[in-house]
């Protein structure tokens, strides 16, 4: 059974050496009990303590890391079934599949486009994580050529797919020094796959028709020394994938069942239609996948998927905030009024979205209200006349919106008197209470 932070602390060296990256042994012990770190981060732990802690210190879903030149994808280490219970930690990696039979020119063109893809969402640049190279010809030379073709255009981590260990080995040789993911160990080839994974320090996908067979296989592989495993359940549709992923996550968390305590890889790429592939990928994001292998790339479908991943993996314990500052919407001019709101992300998006869709220009002053919504921040004293006046000065609003008209959210109309005192040369107006009424308000104001 899992030990508490205190119980773990008693087994630690209690020297507070900080080498694990935490300030005290107690802090490290608490992280261990929350299964967010591995015991190996402590260089001084005794053998005896190790044995006692081994069972409780491993995260219920093992952390698997893929590495290539300058890139890293980490998945696993998850501790909850529902994100509101804590948070989902490691975003699933999106990997795009190429087949060696496609030929080098086609592979290079596809990889180049995907590698270069980046899209900005609320100030974050979202990108795709890597590529999967699929042996379809049964030819080591062809496979190696495909791996090299990918490497010519991208340095992102790779998944190598083949049933043949000789072919996989040829591919692994072409990317020596990297930590790749190899697909897949099965009931037939697991011993050779375990050797291969160990020799090339690769992570290994385990493939089986049923979860029972999968659990048997992971045990055997672990005994052979292959520890960085990834589970490939057999489902390719919505229903079966959802159930298999859910059962795996539940077994790992609720029952602390080690044989299924690994990240999951899903293959939306096997869907017949591109639109189904996208929908399956969306399900995989919300429902427990660690790696998501895709076939068809287009900006209009990968953008929503990357945004979904960002949203679902947002930490619900922290109110998400946007950067305080002066935002421009629909090309405002110096005469355009300044709308004030807070930096709670949902508040910001509601207001920005309404102004944007209204087609009317606006300056949006996002005040630093510690990530709270308008009324909450006002009640907590984080959104008052003083704070707004401070931000007006800090972001030099008067230099851009020279007509100096400032619109308060209707909910805090009460601040207008004080604000007039704080900003004597500004005209203070009171806007609507709800952002949905902003378009009508702006239309009238113009």
């Amino acid at each position: 059974m899992a030990l508490s932070g205190i119980e773990i602390y008693k087994l630690l060296p209690k020297t507070n050496c900080k080498e694990c990256g935490f300030p005290t042994c107690m802090a490290f012990g608490l992280k261990l009990s929350a299964k967010q770190v591995e015991l190996s981060a402590c260089p001084y732990v005794s053998e005896e303590a190790k044995a006692q802690l081994a069972a409780s210190s491993e995260p219920p879903v093992r952390l698997v890391t893929l590495k290539s030149n300058g890139h890293k994808v980490e998945v696993g280490n998850e501790v909850v079934l529902y994100r509101h219970e804590k948070t989902f930690y490691n975003k699933p990696g999106f990997f795009f599949r190429v087949k060696d039979s496609d030929g080098e020119a086609t592979i290079k063109a596809k990889v180049k486009e995907i590698d270069a893809y980046t899209v900005n969402y609320v100030g974050i640049d979202l990108v795709v994580d890597g590529f999967a190279v699929n042996d379809t010809a049964g030819d080591s030379a062809k496979f190696t050529a495909a791996v090299k073709a990918v490497r010519a255009e991208s340095q992102k981590p790779l998944i190598l797919i083949s049933a043949d260990t000789t072919i996989l080995e040829a591919g692994l040789k072409a990317i020596e020094g990297e930590t790749a993911l190899v697909y897949a160990a099965t009931a037939e080839n697991w011993e050779a796959m375990a050797e291969l994974a160990k020799t090339y320090k690769a992570s290994l996908v385990v493939k089986a028709d049923t979860l029972e067979e999968m659990a048997d296989l992971t045990q055997k592989l672990k005994d052979k020394g292959a520890k960085d495993l990834v589970l490939a359940p057999s489902g390719r549709d919505f229903s079966k994938t959802l159930l298999q992923n859910t059962i795996i996550r539940r077994m790992a968390l609720a029952k602390n069942f080690r044989p299924l305590g690994f990240p999951i890889i899903n293959f939306p790429c096997d869907a017949e239609k591109a639109e189904t592939e996208v929908a399956l990928a969306a399900q995989a994001v919300a429902k427990y996948a660690g790696f998501i292998v895709m076939e068809n790339f287009s900006p209009e479908t990968i953008y929503p998927l990357l945004v979904l991943r960002e949203n679902i993996y947002t930490d619900p314990q922290k109110p998400i905030q946007v950067q305080p500052g002066l935002y421009e919407i629909n090309d405002p001019t110096p005469e355009t009024p300044v709308l004030v709101t807070t930096n709670f992300s949902i508040t910001y998006f509601s207001v920005a979205n309404e102004v944007e869709s209204s087609g009317q220009p606006g300056w949006l002053l996002v005040s630093d209200a510690e990530g709270m919504s308008v009324l909450t921040a006002w009640a907590a004293g984080n959104f008052d006349a003083e704070q707004i006046a401070k931000d007006v000065k800090r972001f030099e609003v008067a230099s851009k919106a020279t007509s100096k008209v400032l619109v308060l959210p209707g909910h805090v109309a009460v601040l207008s008197g004080e604000l007039e005192e704080e900003l004597p040369d500004w005209e203070i107006k009171v806007g609507p209470r709800e952002s949905v009424d902003l378009p009508a308000y702006l239309k009238e104001a113009v």
């Binding site: 529902y82 994100r83 509101h84 893809y117 980046t118 899209v119 900005n120 969402y121 049923t210 979860l211 029972e212 659990a215 048997d216 045990q219 489902g235 549709d237 919505f238 229903s239 079966k240 959802l242 159930l243 298999q244 859910t246 059962i247 539940r250 077994m251 029952k255 069942f257 044989p259 639109e275 189904t276 996208v278 929908a279 969306a282 399900q283 994001v285 919300a286 429902k287 287009s298 900006p299 209009e300 479908t301 990968i302 953008y303 929503p304 998927l305 945004v307 979904l308 949203n311 679902i312 947002t314 619900p316 992300s345 949902i346 998006f349 509601s350 979205n353 944007e356 869709s357 949905v436």
Partner: protein, 324 residues
């Protein structure tokens, strides 16, 4: 190795709700929909079966709206000029349920009137046999002014009247009571507020099997994670036996996604956003699928292609797979 899959033991169950009444039950609908009844988290077939599939509704308006995306204008075309035609087109597009939204204004810019709203509702009821949800424009006084006569005009049809919010639920609930209709209550993305509104609605005397709840969601990129988690929490609370969270959940995915810039705007957007129409449909589709997997019972969409794609996912999700 034989595995025993971990099962949650739930004591509660989502309320079953029937929308629409056929001639047999005093209405004129040719079909009805039944939602709710779940006793597991969504589609966990090995715990219990999914008694009713999530229902897909399309949103139409009593007159052509002026603020919808160009893509939607193109899709529905002239049908948008006439609510009866629009209702027929939506039925042909595969809707199982219609949401008739009453606009604030008539096409000529004058305020909407009870007469116009009643005429539109009657036209829609005459044009299609589908069950109906009817919502006001979302301003308390006007909602009451329009919804009450509409409720009278379609007495016995078991339509869903909306939107009840904490400050504005009594009139609509009374209109539902008097005419054998249902209501939908909407709270702003908060488990406790949803629950509280359900308590208020129940206190009006409305039977619990005539209440639906809209927990409110954000679109993908605009707060979907809040909607997603609130819905998961409401469903978990319902399964744990908290009676006032056991109403089936409705989400207006079409309304939320089609007002985002990604769906509404085709020009002067980053190249990395890709092709407009496919992006907009994907936005609506994956918002819907994500929320269905968090427990949505009714999803209101705006584009027929999204409906087709979401339905394909639902067709598969409701089938219990072979796990052995």
């Amino acid at each position: 190795m034989t595995l025993e899959f971990p099962k949650d033991k739930w004591s509660g169950k989502v309320q079953e709700v029937v929308i629409g009444a056929t001639a047999e039950d005093g209405g004129t609908r040719t079909s009805t929909v039944t939602v709710g009844g779940e006793s597991t988290m969504p589609f966990i077939h090995y715990e219990a079966e999914t008694p009713h599939r999530p229902v897909l509704a399309l949103e139409i308006r009593d007159s052509k709206p002026n603020d919808w995306s160009e893509i939607l204008f193109e899709t529905w075309g002239d049908a948008m000029e006439d609510p009866a035609q629009w209702a027929k087109a939506a039925e042909e597009a595969g809707a199982e349920l219609l949401l008739l939204g009453l606009n604030l204004e008539q096409p000529d810019g004058t305020p909407n009137t009870p007469e116009a709203a009643v005429n539109a509702t009657k036209a829609v009821l005459g044009a299609t046999g589908l069950p109906l949800m009817i919502s006001g424009p979302g301003q308390a006084e006007i909602d009451n002014e329009l919804i009450v006569p509409v409720a009278d005009a379609c007495r016995g049809e078991r339509v869903v009247l909306g939107i009840c919010e904490d400050k504005n639920y009594r009139t609509i609930a009374a209109a539902a009571m008097a005419n054998n209709h249902l209501v939908i209550g909407r709270a702003p993305m908060d488990v406790n507020l949803s629950k509280q509104l359900n308590i208020l609605l129940k206190d009006t005397g409305l039977p619990f099997d005539r209440i639906l709840m809209d927990p409110t969601t954000g679109a993908l990129g605009y707060g979907i994670e809040y909607g997603f988690s609130v819905m998961e929490r409401l469903r978990l609370a319902a399964l744990r036996g908290d009676a006032m969270t056991q109403s089936p959940m409705v989400v207006e995915v079409g309304f939320e996604t089609w007002k985002t810039k990604e769906s509404k705007v085709g020009e002067d957007v980053p190249e990395s956003w890709g092709e407009w129409k496919e992006r907009a449909i994907t936005w609506e589709t994956i918002t819907a699928i994500t929320l269905i997997e968090a427990g949505a019972d009714i999803v209101v969409l705006r584009h027929p292609e999204s409906l087709k794609r979401v339905r394909a996912a639902i067709d598969n999700l409701v089938e219990a797979p072979e796990l052995a």
